[in-house]
């Protein structure tokens, strides 16, 4: 085929593209899954390697009830651009997790933190039937990681509609792409434990101090 039109441009393009593909394949630019901890219709928990992250102090030991206490303190507001931001501030923050969601999630998050390496974070998805249950899943997704003494939570989707299939079930030729991660303002109560991690400059929960106050004495 190449000989009919000469080496360049057809074969040149092909070879360049293949080389580019091999090079690009070797360097991930977005977090990617390294191990699936648990997967069912309600919860997906996996380990992700984040190429941009500063090292965490994993593996980390946290009991499910300790994690429950931490997750229960989180709330959010959707990050808005101006001028909607002025009005968004009037809206009180919403709890991220319901109690049944925390109950379903924490055993696997705890397991994930135990198995995670220092360059991995624990990614989760909370699933529920979507608005069109045949095609979509209601998805709350994010990740947690521990860098002593802080616990980081990243929220990527809050009750977003994720396609179940890779193609639109009603339009087989059109790819069904999950929505992009959203931007959220996270809050934590009690606010005195919501601090800035000096390593990453991101906000995180001062885990150890919080656990002293939040967890029953029997666990201390």
């Amino acid at each position: 085929m190449c000989s009919r039109i000469g080496f360049f441009p057809a074969c040149g393009l092909l070879i360049c593209a293949l080389l580019a593909g091999m090079m690009s394949g070797g360097c991930a630019r977005l977090p990617y899954t390294t191990k699936v901890i648990h997967e069912d219709r309600r919860v997906v928990v996996s380990l992700q390697r984040d190429p941009k992250a500063v090292a965490y102090t994993h593996p980390a030991q946290l009991q499910p009830d300790q994690l429950s206490a931490v997750l229960n303190g989180f709330s959010l507001r959707e990050k808005q651009r101006l001028p909607l931001r002025w009005f968004a501030e009037e809206v009180p923050p919403k709890k991220i997790f319901r109690s049944d969601e925390i109950e379903a999630l924490v055993p696997f998050l705890a397991e994930g933190l135990e198995k995670a390496a220092s360059d991995e974070r624990v990614y989760f998805q909370l699933l529920a039937p979507g608005m069109n249950p045949a095609a979509e899943r209601d998805t709350t997704a994010g990740w947690i990681a521990v860098r002593e003494p802080f616990l980081h939570l990243g929220l990527e989707h809050y009750h977003a509609q994720f396609p179940i299939q890779k193609s639109e079930p009603l339009d087989l030729r059109y790819p069904a792409i999950p929505p992009e991660p959203g931007s959220y303002l996270l809050y934590f109560e009690p606010g005195r434990f919501w601090e800035t991690d000096p390593v990453s400059s991101g906000q995180a929960v001062q885990l150890r101090e919080f656990l002293k106050t939040a967890v029953p004495a029997s666990r201390k």
């Binding site: 085929m1 009919r4 039109i5 441009p9 057809a10 393009l13 092909l14 360049c16 593209a17 293949l18 580019a20 593909g21 690009s24 394949g25 991930a28 630019r29 977005l30 990617y32 899954t33 919403k94 319901r98 049944d100 529920a128 039937p129 608005m131 069109n132 249950p133 045949a134 095609a135 979509e136 209601d138 009750h159 509609q161 299939q165 890779k166 193609s167 079930p169 009603l170 339009d171 087989l172 030729r173 059109y174 790819p175 792409i177 999950p178 929505p179 992009e180």
Partner: protein, 595 residues
Amino acid sequence: MKLRTILGNIIEPIRQTTGIIAISTLILFLIEAYPAHAVDTGKLVEKDGQYVFVESMDPATRLLLERAYEKGIITQEERDKAIKDSETRAYLMQPSFKMWYDRGFNFSMNDNAFLLKIRGRMQLRETTRWRNDAWRNPGDAKNYPELLGVFGDYRANRSDDFASQFNLRRARLLFLGHLLSPDFKYFVQLGFETAENAQTPGAANLLDFYFLSTHLPLLNVQVGQYKVFFNRAQINSTASMQFAERAPVMDAFTASGLNRRDVGITIMNDDEVYPVNYYLGVFNGAGPLFNRYGTYNSEEPTVPCPGGQTSGNPFPSPSPATCPANQRNLNANFRDEIDKLMYAGRLQWNILGRPGYGEGDLAYSEKPQMAVGGGLAYNPGINTSTDNAFVGIDLANLNFRRQLATFGNGRQLGWGVVNYLTQAYDAVFKYRGFSLQGEYYFKNIDRTFKGAPCLQTAGQGGPCTAFAPGLLGNSTGWYVQSGYYLIPRKLEVAARYSYWDPDTNASGDLIKQVDASINWFPFGTYDYQLMLTYSNLAMGTGGYAIGRSNPLPSTGGSQNTVPCPATFPSGCVPLDRVGGTLIENAIRVQLQIFF
């Protein structure tokens, strides 16, 4: 012994009673647990674009009930009954349908037995192009000719060198959803756009209307009008491309050779379930909104004498010797080739993952995605008009001819009835924002009228004095394209090279195109995109095209005679008198909004 029997008689009822008590306790516990569960019930509802969990019962009422129960004002039975009645009332009061926006306006019954999704898609394009002088003369009369009037005489596609125009390239309205169950789907797509170089403004066209049953994953059935599952480039939606436009070679090798869409039925398996997918379809093979009843020849009242034009049929042959001179003009009355159907099949193997049909790796595949596939289509009995240059003497239906010209297969016009056997082979690879895909095409064109067509006769019905200098060959082509997301899910660069030989018997007719594109997806989906595509097209004007190249049709005389004698119905000057390669450099800026 007797004592043991007495003890046994006493213990056994106690043991049985204990079992009964345990079971009863469990039942009571479950009964007890049910109201507590009911109190916690609720559901996710959409409100102002947010999904929130709402309890089935009004929180204030519930608080009062709980307090009343805790203080002993009401009994547990009364509390439970109030909760149950409240939930029943709430259930009965809620509407039986829901409406929301999510990639389209959605309307659904609560039991999901019916869904209607309405979407709109617009591609607004600005094209700036520079063409060489060959576009002024000779222009393109061979691959994309314009067909004039009811006779379909050939006209060269010519233009000035520079052009800059806005174009609503795609204006679509989609109605899609399911009926009765999510496994019985429907899809309706209307198009209102105008193609580049179109002579008339766009009108509402029914592009797709089909039903799809997915009840059996191994045997999905699709019926109606839709794009034939044949080659990758055409199966893919124009909403998920890496370039503003398909390469010319992609359009030339559709299953039917006429159009990417057709009316028929396809069986296939569910490609979300099985790694190897098949598609088998039977179609009219006549293009969208059309069937073969609408294609015809002219026949004299005497069967089977071919109909003549105003000045009579110039040929002694193939008319039977017993045919009369000319009974009636331009009948266009004889439906033939109406027993033919098109058969198209495709086989695909998803070797790694499932890359799908969308171009580029917008989804940023975490794992390598790779697939290979191939298609085979047989579309017999395509009437390309008479197998000579006397345009109009049989007045074959113009719809077939115009579709051939629109999709770049104009060199196949005028060669009588042909059978197309088209092959397509493709491969695709995607990984972490990188994509590479390519296809190879080959179309075997079988002319049912063998031999070289007669082009000039010595007078009406006289012997043939000039034949076509060469016969129509087959057609082949391929393309390869690659892309990479510089910013994952946001910014992509892509390049493509395409090669097309429209007539393997002709020389100087190759069509090559190089494209480069930079694409911005502001929201990380195909729905919203801004593309800037540069294209360089080189189209050879060589080779013989019937009715456009020498020798031109004549019933006597010489085309060198001035003025041109009346015996040349299509004129005396061939449209490719001036040769050369048509060069076009174009920049297309295209905005897509799919909502």
